[in-house]
């Protein structure tokens, strides 16, 4: 499966795509550095606010969306999925390898810049640790969901952006119940608990938030396997 993983990583990692998404990460680091410069030894709340507003609300879902939705979605749309589908390999292994490829690309482009941004705010190691953990969990959760979305719909990128911006950005703010259906709520909650800040908002307990994120990732994975098994390959 290592060759398949390398193939999928290579197919997903266009230079333009990597450069654009790395640019978003650089912006995060610059914002962190700016905050750190403005308020030397700044408050953890301000740093957590930055990580939450820019990192967990935008960078993590968007970067993960780009890679996870395309890792199987692009082959499905361009017709190369047939070369994966016709292999004597369990479907769950194909999806797991595809998710591994998406995580390989998405994690460094989110966790590293956001970790650096958190460090640059000067808010301390607690925020850096909380940022790394919440980002990682967020990437895992979004990857499962968006991998399924890539197989389920055409133009998954567009649908994913609508989910991130419209659902998570606006609709999920309407009430606590709806907010639970937004992964952002859980990533922010993990950040708030682990950094002991209030800015990000700890809507549910740490355990519940972590469980929701892991379940979302696993659920998306299971749905993607089911979808691939039933997929009609062009």
């Amino acid at each position: 499966m290592a060759l398949l993983w390398r193939t999928l990583v290579g197919a997903s990692a266009g230079r333009g795509r990597l450069a654009g998404l790395a640019g978003l990460g650089v912006v995060a680091v610059l914002l962190g550095a700016n905050l750190g410069a403005e308020a030397a030894g700044g408050s953890p709340d301000q740093g957590a606010d930055l990580v939450s507003a820019y990192g967990l609300s935008l960078l993590v879902p968007v970067v993960t969306l780009v890679f996870a939705s395309s890792v199987l979605g692009d082959p499905s749309e361009d017709g190369t999925l047939v070369y994966l589908w016709l292999q004597p390999v369990p479907r769950w292994q194909l999806v797991l390898t595809a998710l591994g490829a998406a995580l390989t690309l998405a994690l460094p482009l989110t966790v590293v810049p956001l970790g650096l941004a958190a460090a640059a705010t000067g808010s301390g190691l607690g925020l850096v640790t909380a940022t790394v953990v919440s980002c990682t969990l967020g990437v895992v959760a979004y990857a499962g969901v968006f991998a399924w979305l890539g197989l389920r719909v055409r133009r998954a990128l567009l649908w994913g952006v609508l989910y991130v911006l419209v659902w998570e950005g606006f609709v999920a703010r309407a009430g606590d119940t709806v907010a639970l259906l937004a992964l952002r709520t859980s990533t922010r909650s993990v950040l708030a608990h682990l950094s002991a800040t209030t800015a990000a908002g700890a809507e549910s307990s740490l355990l519940v938030s972590v469980a929701i994120l892991l379940l979302a990732g696993a659920g998306g994975f299971a749905l993607a396997v089911r979808r691939l098994t039933r997929h009609e390959v062009a």
Binding site: M1, L3, L4, T7, G10, A11, D78, G79, T80, V82, Y83, W85, L86, Q87, P88, V89, P90, R91, R230, E232, V233, A234
Partner: protein, 305 residues
């Protein structure tokens, strides 16, 4: 003995469009050509055989199992799909090695290199697949279908984009594989191409299996069908009258000072009678042109039988 491929009243429809309707056949070792005009449902049948699509109705089995349900069956299947897309950015060797590796072939790199040599491609070529011509991409697809030495080889228009030499070479290769006991199912819309496979033929038209059997029997059936033929002669009216009197044609239309169009009911009988009729009419026969000798008209005839 379990057939390699078995379709039992298999149908496939997309919304209200019927792509394949109640197709039944079974295949064993040897080459079988799936012949039909564009849009006849050939690719859909091949997709059903490979499990890439599930039948809306009926059953599809390969090696006695359901190709949609048992991915292990793919260990014995090689497919050359119709679509041109390959993993751009990869070399041909890496692409074919991927299939070899996922099929558990020992020494996948060396085996992939050998498969590429079989189709006359250079395994050491470092260029990405996106730089390859259509014919080269076609050969890469054939190499990846052969690399794990499958028992069932499914080829969707495999000669598309190849030059005559490569066509002849691949036809020879597939015929040898059939003779060695592999089941080779190949689709084509080119009658002359299918003739060269020298194989059993399944004729598909408008989603239905309209004829099945040895190529020569199908060819005879096509030869014997009614035809419309234009004759050029210095005495077209006399020639037409003689053909009518001899019962060689069902209708005659003089279309010009040196041309007559006749409707035959039996193409083969007409072929035998036209020269004697011209002689009897004292007419010089300048040209005989079938007006409906294209594949489409052959298929229309077979569908209408």
């Amino acid at each position: 003995m379990t057939p390699v491929v078995e379709l039992d009243r298999a149908s496939k429809w997309f919304d209200d469009v019927v792509a394949v309707s109640e197709v039944s056949f079974s295949l064993g070792p040897g080459v079988t050509a799936l012949l039909g005009p564009n849009g006849a449902g050939k690719s859909t049948v091949l997709r059903l055989v490979c499990g890439l699509a599930s039948p809306s109705q009926g059953q599809v089995r390969i090696f006695g199992g359901d190709p949609r349900a048992d991915h292990r069956l793919y260990r014995r299947v090689g497919l050359v799909p119709q679509q041109q897309a390959l993993f751009d950015g990869m070399t041909a060797l890496r692409f074919v090695s991927l299939t070899a590796s996922l099929h558990g072939v020992t020494a996948p790199g060396a085996t992939a290199a050998e498969a590429l040599r079989v189709v006359e491609l250079d395994p050491g070529d470092e260029r990405g697949l996106e730089t390859y011509s259509k014919g080269m991409r076609q050969r890469v697809k054939v190499a990846q279908a052969l690399v794990h030495d499958p028992d069932l080889l499914v080829l969707d228009e495999p000669l598309d984009g190849l030059d005559p030499r490569q066509r002849a070479r691949l036809i020879g290769l597939f015929r040898r594989l059939g003779e060695q006991g592999r089941c080779v199912l190949v689709s084509s819309h080119v009658l002359e191409e299918v003739e060269r496979w020298g194989s059993r033929v399944l004729v598909l038209a408008q989603g239905r299996l309209v004829a099945e059997g040895d190529f020569h029997a199908i060819r005879d059936l096509m030869e014997d069908r009614p035809r419309r033929i234009r004759l050029r002669s210095d005495r077209p009216q006399a020639l037409g009258a003689e053909l009518l009197a001899a019962g060689a044609v069902a209708g005659v239309t003089v279309t010009g000072p040196d041309a007559v169009v006749v409707d035959t009911v039996d193409g083969a009988a007409f072929g035998r009678m036209v020269a004697p009729a011209a002689r009897a009419a004292g007419a010089r026969l300048l040209e005989v042109v079938p007006l409906d000798d294209d594949l489409e008209s052959v298929f229309r005839y077979l569908v209408g039988r």
